[in-house]
Symmetry: C2
Subunit: 170 residues, 2 copies
Amino acid sequence: MTDGRTAQVHSGENLLFLTDEQLRQGIEAMFFAYRGFTADPDRILADMSYGRAHHRAIHFINRAPGTTVNNLLAILGVTKQSLNRVLRTLIADGLVESRVGNLDKRERHLYLTEAGHELEAQLSDAQRARMRAAFRDAGPEAVAGFRRVLEAMMDADMRRAYTRLRDTVG
Amino acid sequence: MTDGRTAQVHSGENLLFLTDEQLRQGIEAMFFAYRGFTADPDRILADMSYGRAHHRAIHFINRAPGTTVNNLLAILGVTKQSLNRVLRTLIADGLVESRVGNLDKRERHLYLTEAGHELEAQLSDAQRARMRAAFRDAGPEAVAGFRRVLEAMMDADMRRAYTRLRDTVG
DNA sequence: GAGTTTACGTCAGTCTTGTTGACATTCCAA
DNA sequence: TTGGAATGTCAACAAGACTGACGTAAACTC
């Protein structure tokens, strides 16, 4: 199971990129890159009394305006109690609006307010700037590969959520 | 700043992969993939009373045996107090050994015990299995691109830590 | 129409993991 | 040799995740 040479057994194809050493490098790259990925928004959020959880909520409400609480729960993969704490502060601070559903009055549909959009843009710009720099440095071929590997690394549920989101026309 | 068309201004090269939409997809892929990346070890750790922090410590102690606390701090990017709590439990549970330095008695050098190595292997196997599947699905070209983008996404400090680690001969 | 299910909110309590602040020990250099 | 810097430990606290229990309102089902 931990044998670094299994990959080389398959003769014919070159599977050297599947050695344990290559995998470990991939794992560590993922760890360090994720820190870079969140670093810039984290800095902005630290000044207000918000955290990464607020960022995630804001991102996906902006992404899918009018989403219900349940929907957001599924995307974020947290409990409603956890999300609720975050939403409560965002609503209290006037960044998010919660409207009772027309068809189903049990549902709450979530929207960003003007102020919410401003913060979203600020966080988004910071995160995109780094992603853009990384994409540009690496080039289009690399970006395509990056996406392919990430998608293969998701759980089935996540991939479904992600695909649904990706194909949503704003 | 938020103009999705900036990329298209540069005529000649095809920079369509740098549109805001592409960047957003990259950001979301990163978010979902990181969940998948940590999901399997997290499940194992949940059974014991350990968390992701313990996993990270164990990983890097295994990676660089004899590392000092300060060294580990720099790699993990947390405060020494935070790391210390984790280390204390790992040492108490007999997974990690802390030896006073020979040259500098202020330093503590960290090593995995037999039991520590066992847990490390268990966590590693789980995480590598998913990474291996993702790598195999995506293919070697994609993996190279994946690595290139991740490295471009790190901070300079992280890249230094990562490169140093990567080039370390166990 | 009564009973069940669904969607949402909330209170209370716990756990992990991050933070600061205070402190002991050891090393080193002026 | 003494004062500052470096290394690591202890204590207290905060954010954000979790579970469990409960309440309300609306929708669904028989």
